[in-house]
C-alpha cells in the first residue's frame, strides 16, 4: 500500500480532528446554556478582531511555539518530553538571574545573554532525565514528570527564601532594570510607523520564536545531526547499525528540547512580567504537547498550531469576560485536541485511508 498524499496527512486529518474537538466543545457550551456559534464569534473577534486581541494572541502563541518546538524535537528522536513545564520554569529562572545580575544599559545587549541563560537552564533541567534515559534506561516520561514537580518546589523555595525582595511579602523578584525591558509590538511597529495597541505583552520574543522555528527546521531536515535524530526516531536498531550512538542522540535531542522550553522565559519573564513570579509558565509546557501533536512535529505545523492555541487562549479569556463560559473551556478543547490528534489518531486515519485508496482504485 502506498502512502497517503501529504496534504491529507498534514492538513486534512488535523483539520478533521480540530472540527471534532470543536464540535464536542460546542456540546459543552450548549450544556452551559450559551449559543456555541455566538461563543465562537466572541472568541474569534476577541482574539484577532483588533490589534489588542492580536497582541495577546501572539504573546500566548510565542510561548506555545517554544514549547511546541521543544516537544517536536524530542518526538523526532522518539522521546516524549513531558517536562516542558519544569524546563520552562528553570528557563525563566535563568532569564531572571541574567536580568537581575547586571544593570543592563540596553535590551539589545541584555537579550542575547538572557537567551543563553534561559536555554542553558532549560537544557540543564532536561539533562538529568536525558542522561538517565540514555545510560540507565529510566523511562523519560516518568523522570520528566518528576522533574516538573521538583522544578516547582525549587522555584517556590528560591522565591520565598532567596530571591524575594527583602521586606516584601510577595514571593517574586524585584522588577528588572529599564535596560532589560524588551520592545513590545507597539514599540516595534511604531518604528515602521504602524499603530498597534499599547497594552498587550507581545514582544520581540515572537521574532525569536519564528527564528527558532527556522532553526529547528534547518537542524532536523538539513543537517547530518538532524538526519541522525530522525533515523534514530524511526528505528533505534537500524540507527545503531549505521553507527549512530543512541546515547549521543538522546542527549542532544533532549538538551535542545530543554533549551527550547527554557527560551520561553524571555517571552513570559523578561517580556511580560519583567520579574520572576511563581508559576510564570502557566501550563504552556503541556500545551506544547498539543501543539506538537497537532503540528505533526513540523516547525511550520507547530507555528500554525501555536497561533491556533494563542487564539483559543485569548478568545477563551474574552469568553470568560462576556459570557457564563469559564476559562476552563480551553482546557477541555486542549484535552480533546491531544486525545484526537495524539491518542485516537487511528480512529480518524484508518477510515480516511480506506476511503482514499478506494477512490484511487476506482479512478484507476
Amino acid at each position: 500500500m502506498t502512502k497517503l498524499p501529504s496534504w491529507i496527512d498534514i492538513l486534512l486529518i488535523p483539520l478533521i480532528n480540530l472540527i471534532i474537538a470543536l464540535f464536542l466543545s460546542a456540546l459543552v457550551v450548549l450544556y452551559i446554556g450559551e449559543n456555541p456559534l455566538n461563543a465562537l464569534s466572541i472568541m474569534i473577534k476577541g482574539a484577532i478582531g483588533s490589534s489588542y486581541g492580536w497582541g495577546y494572541t501572539l504573546y500566548y502563541a510565542t510561548n506555545f511555539i517554544f514549547t511546541g518546538l521543544a516537544v517536536s524535537v524530542a518526538f523526532h528522536a522518539r522521546m516524549f518530553n513531558i517536562g516542558g513545564e519544569g524546563q520552562a520554569t528553570l528557563g525563566g529562572l535563568g532569564v531572571a538571574l541574567v536580568c537581575l545580575m547586571f544593570p543592563w544599559p540596553h535590551w539589545s545587549i541584555a537579550l542575547p545573554v538572557a537567551i543563553i541563560g534561559g536555554a542553558l537552564f532549560g537544557a540543564a533541567w532536561a539533562a538529568i532525565p536525558a542522561y538517565l534515559q540514555a545510560k540507565r534506561g529510566s523511562h523519560i516520561v516518568i523522570t520528566t514528570i518528576m522533574f516538573n514537580f521538583m522544578a516547582s518546589a525549587l522555584l517556590v523555595y528560591l522565591l520565598v527564601n532567596v530571591l524575594k525582595v527583602p521586606g516584601s511579602m510577595a514571593p517574586e523578584t524585584g522588577r528588572f532594570v529599564e535596560g532589560a525591558r524588551l520592545p513590545t509590538g507597539h514599540d516595534m511597529l511604531g518604528w515602521v510607523g504602524i499603530k498597534f495597541s499599547k497594552s498587550p505583552p507581545v514582544n520581540i520574543s515572537f521574532l525569536i520564536a519564528v527564528l527558532s522555528s527556522f532553526a529547528v527546521w534547518f537542524l532536523i531536515w538539513k543537517t547530518k545531526l538532524g538526519y541522525e535524530i530522525r533515523a534514530f526516531g524511526h528505528s533505534e536498531s537500524a540507527a545503531k547499525y549505521a553507527g549512530i550512538s543512541p546515547v549521543k542522540i538522546i542527549m542532544i535531542a533532549m538538551l535542545i528540547s530543554g533549551a527550547l522550553s527554557g527560551l520561553m522565559g524571555i517571552n513570559s519573564v523578561m517580556g511580560e512580567s519583567e520579574r520572576l513570579v511563581l508559576d510564570s509558565v502557566q501550563g504552556a509546557g503541556f500545551i506544547g504537547i498539543a501543539v506538537a501533536l497537532m503540528g505533526r512535529s513540523h516547525p511550520l505545523g507547530v507555528f500554525l498550531a501555536a497561533i491556533l492555541f494563542g487564539i483559543l487562549y485569548q478568545g477563551g479569556a474574552e469568553l470568560a469576560m462576556w459570557t457564563k463560559i469559564p476559562r476552563e473551556l480551553i482546557v477541555v478543547i486542549q484535552a480533546l485536541v491531544i486525545l484526537l490528534t495524539g491518542a485516537l489518531d487511528n480512529m480518524i486515519r484508518i477510515p480516511i485511508e480506506r476511503l482514499y485508496f478506494k477512490m484511487v482504485r476506482a479512478n484507476a
Binding site: 518546589a153 476552563e328 482546557v331 480533546l336 491531544i338 491518542a343
Partner: protein
C-alpha cells in the same frame, strides 16, 4: 517531640496516604496488564468531583461514591478505546485524560453550583464519617497502646479500612487466581496469552476497569472522606505521587502500601512542621520535603538502589499477527 505529636503525625500520615494507596493499586492493575496510566490524577479528580456533587445533591456519601466510581470508569473507558482498541499512544491518552478531567470538573462545577468550581461544603450523611472501633473508648486511657489504638487505628472513615483490605486482596487476585495470572501475562507477553486462546483485549479492558474502580474510591475519599466537598484541582499531583509510589514499590502490592505510607508520612511532616532541624545538617526546607517523593523515585528509577523494571509489554499496543 512528644508521644502525642508523633501519634498525631502518624495519624495524619495514614489519612494522607489513603488516596495515594488506592490510586497506586489502581495503577498497579493497569500497568501489570501492560497499559501505562499517567491519567490516575485525572480519574481521581473526576471522581472527587462526581462524588462531592452527587453526595451534596442526594445527601448520601454512598451514592456519591458510586457516582465517583462511574466517572472514573468512564475516563478509563476512553483510555481503553484510545490505547487498546485504536492502539494509540497510552502516555498521550493519559495526558489528555488529565486535562479533560481538570477542565470538565471546573466547568460543570461552576455551572452547577456557581462557587468558582467548588461544590458546597458537605456534612452529616453526605460524608463518610469517622468510625470508632470497638473498645476504643474503653481502652483510650491505657498508656501507649490505648492511645495508639484510639487515635491511630480507630477513628478513620470506612474507606480507609477498605483501602487497607484492598492491599492483600490485590496480592491475592494477582498472584493466586487464574485471572491475576492472565492479567500479569498480558503485561509481560501478550502474544503467549493470545496463542493460548485468551483475549488480550478483554483482559486489558478488565484491568483498566479495576483501575477506574480504585481511582474512583480514591477520589471519593478526597471529597467525601478526608475532605468535606470538592475543590478545584484538589488532587494536586497526588496521582503522580501514586505513580511514583508504584515505581518505588516495583509494581508490587505490599511494597506499594509501604511506599504510600512513606509518602503520606512525608506530606504529614511537611504540613505539621514548616521546617525541620536535623542536627549536624541544618534546616531542611519545607519544599525539599515536598519534592522528596519525586527525588526518591528518580533515584530508584536510575537503578542506583535496586532497579525498578516495569512490566515488559508495558506501553505497547498489542498487534495480533
Amino acid at each position: 517531640m512528644d508521644f502525642d505529636t508523633i501519634i498525631q503525625v502518624l495519624d495524619s500520615s495514614v489519612r494522607l496516604s489513603i488516596p495515594l494507596l488506592l490510586a497506586c493499586l489502581a495503577g498497579l492493575f493497569s500497568e501489570r496488564a501492560g497499559i501505562f496510566d499517567i491519567g490516575l490524577e485525572g480519574k481521581m479528580l473526576a471522581s472527587a468531583f462526581a462524588s462531592g456533587a452527587v453526595a451534596f445533591v442526594t445527601g448520601s456519601a454512598l451514592l456519591g461514591l458510586l457516582a465517583g466510581i462511574f466517572a472514573s470508569i468512564a475516563l478509563s473507558a476512553i483510555h481503553g478505546v484510545a490505547s487498546i482498541t485504536f492502539k494509540g499512544n497510552q502516555l498521550i491518552s493519559g495526558v489528555a485524560i488529565n486535562f479533560l478531567a481538570s477542565g470538565l470538573t471546573a466547568l460543570v462545577g461552576q455551572n452547577l453550583f456557581r462557587q468558582g468550581g467548588q461544590t458546597p461544603a458537605l456534612s452529616g450523611s453526605a460524608r463518610f464519617n469517622d468510625i470508632t472501633l470497638p473498645f476504643a473508648e474503653l481502652l483510650k486511657n491505657l498508656p501507649i497502646f490505648g492511645k495508639i489504638y484510639y487515635e491511630l487505628i480507630s477513628g478513620h472513615t470506612l474507606l480507609v479500612y477498605v483501602a487497607f483490605l484492598i492491599v492483600p486482596l490485590t496480592w491475592w487476585i494477582l498472584f493466586r487466581t487464574r485471572f491475576g495470572l492472565r492479567l500479569r501475562a498480558v503485561g509481560e507477553n501478550p502474544a503467549a496469552v493470545d496463542t493460548s486462546g485468551i483475549s488480550v483485549i478483554k483482559q486489558r479492558y478488565a484491568a483498566i476497569a479495576i483501575c477506574g474502580l480504585l481511582c474512583g474510591i480514591a477520589g471519593a475519599y478526597l471529597s467525601t472522606g478526608i475532605g468535606a466537598g470538592f475543590g478545584k484541582e484538589m488532587t494536586a499531583g497526588k496521582g503522580f505521587i501514586a505513580l511514583a509510589a508504584l515505581i518505588f514499590a516495583k509494581w508490587k502490592p505490599v511494597p506499594a502500601l509501604w511506599a504510600c505510607l512513606l509518602f503520606g508520612f512525608l506530606e504529614a511532616v511537611g504540613i505539621r512542621f514548616q521546617s525541620i532541624e536535623v542536627p549536624g545538617v541544618g534546616t531542611i526546607p519545607l519544599q525539599l520535603m515536598q519534592a522528596l517523593p519525586y527525588i526518591l523515585t528518580v533515584i530508584i528509577l536510575a537503578g542506583f538502589v535496586g532497579k525498578a523494571i516495569p512490566p515488559k509489554a508495558g506501553g505497547e499496543p498489542y498487534n495480533k499477527e
